[in-house]
Symmetry: C2
Subunit: 263 residues, 2 copies
């Protein structure tokens, strides 16, 4: 399948502008993607000065210009899309990502591990670590700082995720070097779509990365360039957890010793 | 503290020769180590042709020339040592490692995840993932292929291990590239002591590695050189799990979502 990551710089608090940027980027895509992964908070940018500002630019899943745009484009392009967005439910905000496709919204993930001052803006995710079945295969989502917690990747892998879409707004470069290791030990694909650009004192580190079930780095983005990174991958390979004829990454696990993540 | 890894090539089935090699290496050490980590099955070599041969060269913890030698040397050098050895208990064999020191044997770990044909020779480890308190700090042990299972590193970290000593007989180079990632996400030191040399069709990959709590690679060994790799590390740094003023690698964990490894 054809996977594309879009690395770009959302403008803070300007949903219409960000939709317009993405429209231009989608229109420029030469190869027809089957899955597109966008960064964290792609709808609004990241560094809200306070919760009121975050609230102002938040959207409900069922009443979101941003998700409506993505879904419309997913239908037109006959593909799936994953994107981070600023979600409001009632009076609560979540740092969320949406998986949408030709048939409409497939699922939502809410960031479990909030980074630094995000704790003043968002509620911690309350939807667990869901996976979603699509025609492409089973997909899980994580958002940015979730990467630091190996349990997240492992639990999604054990639930059968063949690809983990990972919208990010990384300011440090560690994650990008760790992602291939998580791919290797969990034998699955990871697509970390990181943003670029600067907001206040924050400079986002780009270098989006796609890695595969053997720990191979399939593609990486540049540090500060808006770009579409497209690759061909075979999600069936992520179903094979066999390491040697006598070793399996999953069934060799000693759940008697360290449990099973509640899976 | 001063940590030394010894990367060498044990001779198959020749415990006395391997003791002699180590004696020469210990005597050559210029800097006085406080902890020495040796490879997996340092007493006997790796590729036994069958279980009978493995049995022939196995030793009981309390009746082992190899462990007696290490403990005697640990007393003389006033240091701790970790080494892989071929352990017999009753009629059962384990791929084990010992932590010994000036006061005698501190603890034993038995490899949880057996690789390939090791399954014909050894029982799977039945001592869980213990940690051991020493004057240097709290130490955990893993052996070679255990590396593939992120639960092992995490469970030891959550039990307070500041350093994981990791005797290995690696034939692939993946582990060495993943070890710094495990250090980073668990905020602790890892000392992977890998052997060199060849047995049958197996060529061991050397490249022993020491990594620290920020994911930094502190030292690496060469591919096929017998060598002593010595570094200064500060185990107190592994007690600090704070990532940002508002993020902690341990307390930010969502145990409500993915459990806690039975810790």
């Amino acid at each position: 399948m054809k996977l594309s990551i879009i690395q770009f710089s959302p403008e803070l608090g300007n949903i219409d502008h960000n939709i317009s940027t993405l429209e231009t980027l989608f229109s420029s895509m030469k190869e027809k993607p089957e899955l597109v992964v966008l960064p964290e908070l792609a709808s609004t940018g990241y560094k809200f000065k306070d919760r009121n500002e975050a609230l102002l630019y938040s959207e409900e899943v069922n009443n979101s210009r941003f998700i409506e745009f993505l879904t419309t484009r997913a239908k037109q392009m006959n593909c799936y899309m994953v994107a981070g967005f600023n979600e409001r439910e009632g009076n609560k905000l979540y740092n969320s990502s949406v998986l949408t496709g030709p048939g409409g919204v497939v699922g939502i993930y809410r960031k479990l591990h909030l980074f630094w001052d995000e704790k003043d803006l968002f509620e911690p995710g309350n939807l667990g670590l869901p996976t979603f079945d699509t025609e492409l295969g089973r997909i899980g989502m994580l958002i940015c700082f979730d990467w630091m917690f190996p349990e997240t990747w492992r639990a999604l892998a054990l639930k059968g995720a063949q690809l983990i879409a990972h919208p990010a707004n990384l300011v440090l470069p560690y994650c990008q070097s760790v992602v291939p290791a998580y791919s290797l030990v969990n034998r699955l694909y990871i697509a970390t779509a990181n943003r670029i650009g600067t907001e206040d004192e924050l400079t986002f580190t780009g270098q989006s990365v796609i890695s595969g079930p053997k720990g191979e780095i399939i593609a990486t983005g540049k540090t500060d360039t808006q770009e579409i990174i497209s690759v061909d991958i075979d999600l069936a390979k992520a179903l094979d957890k066999q390491i040697t004829p006598r070793n399996n990454a999953f069934s060799d696990r000693r759940v008697d010793v360290y449990g099973n993540y509640g899976v």
